[in-house]
Amino acid sequence: MDTAYLIETIIKVVVVLLIFSALAGIGTYFERKVLAFMQRRLGPMNVGPYGLLQVAADGIKLFTKEDIIPTNVVARIFKIAPVITAATAFMAAAAIPFLPQFTLFGYTVHPIVADINIGILYILGIMGVGLYGPLLGGMASANKFSLLSAARGAAVFISYEVITGLSILAPIMMVGSLSLIDFNEYQAGGIGDWIIWSQPVAFILFWIAAFAETGRTPFHLIANDHEIIDGFGTEYSGMRWGLFFIGEYANMFFISFVIPLLFLGGYGDGSLLGALGLLAKMAFFFFFFLWTRAAWPDVRPDQLMWLCWKVLMPIAVINVVITGLVMMF
């Protein structure tokens, strides 16, 4: 491993970390604004022009708040849990190509931290590890609502890992690779080549499961405000809670990148238009997360499990079988 590669990778890691930490903050601003507009409100307006500096104010608040470790919590696990959430969210970003490769000052940049040939498996695995943040945080909190949230988190994440895995199996069979770059090359021919046309069922299943994986509104049971307060985050304060938050929003951004890369042609042929297209698709999927939050009610936990095991999983299995049969004959 030569030094240039090492330096390049470190720079990429830092850039991804910085951009997506900042985006997580701006994401909260967008969420508040979009939700407000959809509910005929104005949202944050007072800090800075149109409330733009609200993000900075929130950041200052989170950083300067006292870091409270309540009595009776398992302090070590309690402290490490938010770090797991944030860290796994960013680790998953390592295998995502955010843009097509471009040339900067005569140097070809691949905007992917590591083009490993098991990319999508790695992303799903690391997002699965992200379960330990809510689980450990909730169990260590000495709070019954946190404990409930941890149990729900474990159930939801593990159940919907099955859906993501099975739904994505069919496209993987077609592409014959787990690398997201190979996925992109497979669909590089234009809109007609997008996997969504051949795998619409897998697309919808993966999209539904993405809501469960990120814990967003129709499946927002892990930290459901109106019944279990803030769930695993109840006992947290200051930046530890902020890490949970950053993890959640970073996850939303990354899954919004993964869905278009898998099903909607990614950055296409790698031109500037393709790159902008990927960003636009990502923006749409991120917007959709906010949109559903304004429009849809939450489901009950038992309905969520029912949906997973009795509806989505059989459909995913049938989809895999049919794809296999079509590919065989």
């Binding site: 979009v34 407000a36 507009f37 959809m38 509910q39 005929r40 409100r41 104005l42 307006m45 949109w291 559903t292 304004a294 429009a295 849809w296 509806v311």
Partner: protein, 205 residues
């Protein structure tokens, strides 16, 4: 939709109707059909469209409070105002003590004395707004329309004592001279055209 529709409480005459709820399915096939029906009826997209429509219409109902305020009705009962006489500019309060007597939360306190012209003068007057329930009895009972309720509803201070300042409630003398004292038409005020409605007291029994 106007208010009359709501004022008519006779339910049977209105357009009220029972929502048609179909029976819940009991067998598995019925449940399955219901799931299919609900899945493909697209109600989720109706919800999405409704919120998106509101976002595009951008019909914002927020009032940015410290900069913008809702108009409040003239009969609103907020912080009291003490009026002055138009002609002389002296306080209208004659120190009769009726408001102190009628105050059901015991928050009005006044001291009076005889001044050098042998007139009754109010030397101390305070309303403890921390206790006041803004019932309006004081304004209703006042024979001189001296104490009324105003529209100032923003109380904020570091000390409770600041809420009882008589000087804050009294119309400033320069405002009076500028003709800015609002004659009260709110709670306890004389209703318009009162003269025409007054009947002679029947004396002959």
């Amino acid at each position: 939709m106007n208010n009359e529709q709501f004022n008519n409480r006779n339910v049977s005459e209105n357009a009220y109707y029972l929502v048609d709820i179909e029976d819940y399915p009991t067998d598995g096939w019925g449940k399955f059909k219901r799931v299919l029906k609900r899945t493909f009826r697209g109600e989720l997209f109706v919800g999405l469209w409704v919120v998106l429509r509101e976002m595009i219409k951008f019909d914002i109902h927020t009032i940015q409070y410290p900069q913008e305020k809702m108009p409040i009705g003239p009969r609103y009962r907020a912080v009291h105002e003490m009026k002055r006489l138009w002609e002389s500019g002296t306080e209208r309060c004659i120190g009769c003590g009726l408001c102190e007597k009628i105050c059901i939360s015991d928050c009005i306190r006044m001291d009076t004395k005889i001044d050098e012209n042998s007139r009754k003068e109010v030397s101390e007057y305070s309303i403890n707004l921390g206790r006041c329930i803004f019932c309006g009895y004081c304004a209703e009972v006042c024979p001189e329309l001296a104490i009324t309720h105003g529209g100032r509803y923003e109380n904020g201070s570091e000390q409770r004592e600041h809420f009882v300042m008589y000087e804050d409630m009294l119309t400033p003398i320069d405002q009076l001279k500028a003709g800015n004292q609002l004659e009260f038409d709110g709670f306890g005020a004389i209703t318009p055209h009162e003269d025409e409605r007054v009947k002679k007291t029947p004396l002959a029994y």
